[in-house]
């Protein structure tokens, strides 16, 4: 079997036995269970009921917790593995560096994406069995957005893990980056920047570059056509992109960002000390 897939499989086997993975799966599975228990499928928000209502809420919770989960678990395990001597041993085996790095990235993507998607898929199956309405186009779109978000933060996490030489530094860096992206959401610091009449290009540029913002705007776009809760920067961006264009951007941009970050991480990994 190809060394890349062997490494990916190994990383999956390693992660499935880690405590963080159990906790991570429980959190996302637990969110869906709680949303069902609290009867969210029965309530209505901005015209959404049934499973669509649950999905909308679930995706809003994902934007808050998924990125930090991915960042912290990725940097802890990758930088932690290097610190604990795992890299020293595993990279003494004749596995190519590209296979090791990208295999880890793919393996990690599988373990961070599957619990999030699995919880959503189980909810859809349950809703179908209980004959609660399922909007499959929304389901597919949210799956694509989750793929994009997970890939973006995984790429950022791999870059941080490569740059930081210790798990503590990596973890602090990951937390600060997440906090920065969270603060520059449309309704937080960007709102303040607009009120302070800073250049619109700067505000829009920050909003476009923030993968959290693109995920949030794309998720909200579908159920808030009047864009009451989207925020001013997103309003301007949407005006330029159009609805379909923005959805395409919100999926393509995070994937590109994650790939570029991971690519830089790989470049630094290949050209530096390995363990």
């Amino acid at each position: 079997m190809n060394a890349l897939w062997l490494t990916a499989r190994l990383d999956i086997a390693e992660s499935l036995r880690a405590r963080w993975f159990m906790f991570y799966s429980l959190v996302f599975g637990g969110i869906v269970v709680l949303l069902f228990v609290f009867g969210l499928t029965e309530s209505r928000i901005l015209g959404f009921t049934g499973l669509s209502r649950l999905l909308v809420t679930y995706i809003q919770l994902c934007v808050a917790i998924l990125p930090i989960f991915i960042l912290i678990t990725t940097v802890r395990s990758v930088a932690g593995d290097r610190d604990a001597g795992v890299f020293e041993y595993m990279l003494s085996l004749p596995v190519p560096l590209h296979a090791w790095f990208w295999g880890k990235m793919i393996g990690r993507f599988v373990v961070v994406f599957l619990p999030v998607f699995g919880a959503m898929a189980l909810a859809a199956v349950y809703a179908t069995v209980r004959q609660i309405g399922v909007d499959w186009s929304l389901f597919v779109l949210y799956t694509a957005l989750l793929v994009a978000l997970a890939w973006a933060f995984l790429g950022i996490g791999m870059l941080i893990s490569t740059v930081a030489r210790s798990p503590d530094v990596a973890q602090t860096g990951a937390f600060l980056i997440w906090l920065g992206l969270l603060l520059f959401l449309d309704l937080v610091l960007l709102g303040v920047m607009i009120r302070e009449q800073l250049p619109l290009e700067l505000v829009v540029g920050i909003a476009v570059a923030n993968p959290l913002q693109s995920f949030r705007t794309a998720a909200i776009l579908l159920f808030d056509p009047q864009m009451l809760v989207v925020g001013p920067a997103a309003y301007v961006i949407l005006d330029g992109f159009g609805r379909a264009g923005y959805l395409a951007f919100a999926i393509a941009y995070p994937v590109a960002l994650g790939t570029v970050c991971a690519g830089i991480g790989y470049h630094l990994f290949r050209r530096g000390d390995l363990p």
Partner: protein
Amino acid sequence: MITFDNVSKIFKRHTVLDGVSLAIETGERVALVGSNGAGKTTLIRCLLGEYLHEGMVRVGGLDPRANRKVVLSRVGFVPQIPPPLKMPVGELVNFSAAVCGSDPDRIVAMVRELGLDWDRVRRLPFVKLSGGMKQKMLIGIALGRDADILIMDEPAANLDPEARHIFFHQLHERKDNAVMLITSHRLDEVAALVNRVIEMDQGKVALDDRVADDVEMTARLDCAIRLTRAESAFAKAMAEWRFASDDGGINWRGVVNGPDRLRFLGVLARYAGLIAGIEMK
């Protein structure tokens, strides 16, 4: 086969390797000794292509960093501290065999020969094994394939006497066709395994000497010890070497692996005042 040409490594203005030049040929069994921070591990990591460095390292004429697959396919590496891998032991063996292009059954056979109950451990997470079991697994992975460069960091430290004997036997079988680089803090741990000693100090080669050794690595020496009186501390030390006494602790008999004799004599030295006679043959 292996050459280090003026190799230096600096970490944040701290020189860890300082112009090391060495040539190691097939058939050489090298003890790489030195205190903590002497540069042993850094030198090995340069050899494995894991560190960037100044100067040149060549294995069979190839740069290990630029030719990882070719060079590392020849290397069997046993680190001093086993990696804390959570994956099942069977998964580790399959991965190692697959990337090395070897047969996992050979590794399993080697692990079994070293005394590990494969059927019991194969599904256990590697990190949950005892220190000795981990070392047997890593030795099994290193020796269970066609590696002709063996790099081992305190390889026998956690092995029981029987496993040590099998391990020494395996090294003996490869001694003419392989390069062995065995690191240790203490020369007496590895002296009898090697025919060359390189001592490192503050990143430099402080001593490079050949060793004459007339005792085969696979030899087992019958040993008899006579004491002036019985002593419980001595009895405890001898129990670890699986020695027995049939007269209440005055006369002791047992078998010592050839390469272990220096270490064994080191233990006896602690009880020199009690010893009336020693015979090893």
